[in-house]
């Protein structure tokens, strides 16, 4: 089965961020192609996901190399083979800072068409530079999207064509689109890209094996817009989100009534809305925190890709809700399938990240002269020494650059996991009556909501009493102490075919299982 996911706009990119972490925990399908669509190429949300995607693919390919480091096919760590185009973000309008007028060649249009355009778009909308997205104007986004070429030569669309061709040859293909229903890029991209995909499917006469799913994010956050210096600017206004959503839902209601575009649609919203402290119109400063509802969309996508998900002939629309209270609990997180318990896998990844970042990663970092003090310990001999020993040089090479690079990449990734979850936990409920204490994070992190570039600061080192809080890390869970992790890494079975640092990484990951 081939799986494709497309995150449209800032929200789509953020949902992809959740999905990538879930895939590294083992909740994803065997393979997945990931792409993003955003006109605002420098958008902080998109850049963050782009970097994460690249880290994921880099680490996975390094740790699943049958010749040097191999986690083995039995391992759930970085299970999903994610691929992407060289540039994982598709810009509908390429070129330097185009305006809508330029995109539709307004100046050469016939007067009557010009008149029609004038009715549909304000002068500011026509002149708005689009390099930072469609600024919550789906009418601009829709025109821009439709004006783009979606032919087979385009690297992004070529993947869609390949997917449809694969379905024609009998392979099961599932494509999933995530975006927000409000805003600009997502709201305009979701229906237009979906319809274009369906159109290609019909052109190629593919009537079976191809399934299209989507996740629509209803309003789930807002922010305060500063009053100064905003005159004449186009930007997403939170007070318009609900009206936009109402209009969009009416549109989708009509669309879905007459046209079966999606096989499954997952709709998610949030009440009360999360309050973001920083407003940025676009660009690299628009670096919004990961929020809990986005995790729902990501898990919806993973459910769609799950082999246990049987897709019916009729279009299905799913919605999900959390418990009625203000507390957000682990039990509010849905499972991907009967065999994939989201809480178990995500909490395992968090424990792994903690253990690796503060306990084991630092022991493996540095030159051999620093690392060798652990050489007599059982876990080191069994998992590291044997698997990084070079018989030619008769030495353990874990201190060499090529091993250190992987060790450092993993540490970096583990910090991303801890930052992601902690940021989500803090930011989803900040300035609301809600409570979210899925993990105990106060002792290892500091939260500065105003600091856009580094909202969550993960402590570099933990003292002994802080490390001891590991057993309380996951709330609503059985206690797993660091002593248990040490015990587990000494006894867990090494899978056949595991090699190099893949042995240690997988054993540590499995040792963090509840």
């Amino acid at each position: 089965m081939k799986n494709y996911i497309i995150g449209i706009g800032g929200t789509g990119a953020k949902c992809l961020e959740h999905l990538l972490h879930c895939c590294s925990a083992g909740l994803g399908p065997d393979n997945l192609w990931a792409g993003m669509v955003d006109q605002d190429e420098a958008n902080g949300n998109v850049s963050r996901t782009k970097i994460l995607l690249s880290k994921y693919m880099n680490l996975r390919s390094t740790l699943r190399d049958e010749n040097i480091h191999d986690l083995s096919s039995e391992s759930n760590l970085f299970k999903t083979n994610i691929s992407a185009n060289n540039d994982s973000v598709w810009l509908p309008l390429k070129g330097a800072d185009p305006t809508l007028e330029q995109v539709i060649n307004y100046n050469v249009l016939k007067p009557e068409v010009k008149g029609l355009i004038d009715c549909l778009y304000d002068p500011e909308e026509k002149m708005q530079n689009l390099s930072e997205g469609f600024r919550a104007r789906p009418n601009i986004g829709a025109a821009a999207m439709l004006a783009t070429t979606s032919n087979e030569e385009d690297p992004f669309w070529s993947q869609i064509y390949k997917a449809i061709d694969a379905a024609r040859t009998g392979e099961q293909v599932r494509v999933f689109i995530i975006s927000s229903i409000f805003g600009g890029t997502g709201a305009s991209g979701f229906p237009n890209i979906a319809r274009r995909i369906k159109q290609i499917q019909q052109e190629r006469n593919v009537n079976s094996n191809f399934h299209l799913g989507g996740a629509l994010m209803l309003p789930y956050f807002n922010y305060e817009v500063p009053e100064e210096n905003m005159d004449g600017e186009l930007f997403a206004k939170p007070e318009e989100f609900l009206d936009q959503t109402k209009g969009a839902l009416e549109y989708y209601s009509k669309l879905f009534e007459y046209n079966k575009i999606f096989d499954q649609v997952y709709v998610t919203g949030w009440d009360p809305l999360s309050k973001l402290p920083n407003f940025k119109m676009g660009g690299n400063l628009q670096n919004n925190p990961p929020l809990f509802p986005e995790l729902y969309a990501a898990l919806g996508a993973l459910r769609f890709f799950s082999s246990e998900n049987t897709i019916s002939e009729n279009q299905e629309i799913f919605h999900i809700s959390k418990n009625d209270g203000d507390d957000i609990l682990w039990s509010d997180i849905p499972n991907v399938s009967n065999s994939l318990n989201s809480k178990d896998y995500i909490s395992q990844l968090i424990r792994f990240s903690f253990s690796y970042n503060w306990m084991y990663g630092p022991s493996l970092t540095g030159s051999w002269s620093k690392i060798k003090k652990y050489q007599n310990e059982h876990w080191f001999k069994r998992l590291i020494y044997k698997n990084t020993y070079n018989p030619d040089t008769k030495s353990c090479e874990v201190g060499h650059e090529r091993y250190q690079e992987i060790i450092s990449l993993m540490q970096d990734y583990c910090q991303d996991v801890l930052t992601w979850f902690t940021d989500m936990q803090y930011s989803t409920v900040a300035n609301t009556d809600q409570k979210m204490e899925l993990i105990l994070s106060d002792f290892f992190s500091e939260f500065s909501p105003k600091n856009v570039s580094k909202r969550v600061k993960i402590k570099e080192k933990l003292n002994a009493s802080e490390k001891n809080q590991f057993n309380k890390l996951i709330n609503d869970s059985k206690n797993l102490k660091l002593l248990n992790v040490m015990n587990n890494i000494s006894y867990k079975k090494i899978y056949k075919g595991q090699k190099g640092l893949g042995v240690f990484m997988d054993i540590l990951f499995r040792s963090c299982e509840q």
């Binding site: 306990m359 007599n376 310990e377 002593l483 040490m486 015990n487 890494i489 000494s490």
Partner: protein
């Protein structure tokens, strides 16, 4: 804590104990059968452990003394082997509960092992002392100075080795750095 790993440790510890422990078991069984007038063992006892002159002077029958000596050794080795087995099993199980929660921490528990082993060795010395100076056995009064030293030295070394092999195989894998030469154990992945 995984009970499976603890049972595994107990099993390995029993294997380690039995590597040398069978000698003590056989010796105890041999002594329990009582003296045999023609046996070399009895001859060795009279040549090396007892004061022949004092026995002759006291008029004590040699046969009674032999029975008493065999009883003394049977009971003493039974107690010594039992305490070695119990100590090794206690350590093997307890090693799973040592708070070794991070790399490099196991070696700090060497001091725990040293204290535990010290207590065990003191117990060995105490038991040997009690039996060789006991009024409960007539034979104890007729043990020579060199005989007591021989019994003490052999017991001290032998039961330490029995105990050591028990804990060497039985100690939790992650705690092996906390025992003497624990990390030199060959085929440590299998044990």
């Amino acid at each position: 804590m995984s009970m499976k790993n603890i049972f595994r440790s107990v099993l390995l510890s029993v294997i380690g104990l039995s590597l040398l422990g069978w000698v003590s078991f056989s010796f105890t069984a041999l002594n329990a059968l009582g003296p045999d007038g023609d046996s070399n063992l009895l001859q060795w006892y009279f040549d090396n452990l007892v004061q022949s002159e004092e026995i002759t002077a006291s008029g004590m029958p040699w046969e009674d003394l032999a029975v008493s000596l065999y009883n003394l050794l049977t009971q003493m080795t039974t107690v010594l082997l039992s305490i070695s087995v119990v100590a090794a099993l206690i350590w093997s199980v307890a090693s799973h509960f040592l708070n070794i929660d991070s790399p490099g921490k196991a070696k700090f528990y060497f001091i725990y092992w040293l204290i535990f082993t010290g207590i065990f060795m003191a117990a060995i010395v105490g038991i040997v002392f009690w039996f060789t100076k006991s009024a409960a056995f007539n034979a104890a009064d007729y043990l020579s100075g060199s005989g007591v030293t021989t019994i003490s030295a052999i017991s001290f070394i032998y039961y330490f080795l029995v105990y050591y092999l028990g804990i060497l195989l039985g100690t939790a894998r992650f705690a092996r750095s906390s025992i003497l030469f624990g990390n030199k154990l060959p085929a440590s992945d299998l044990l």
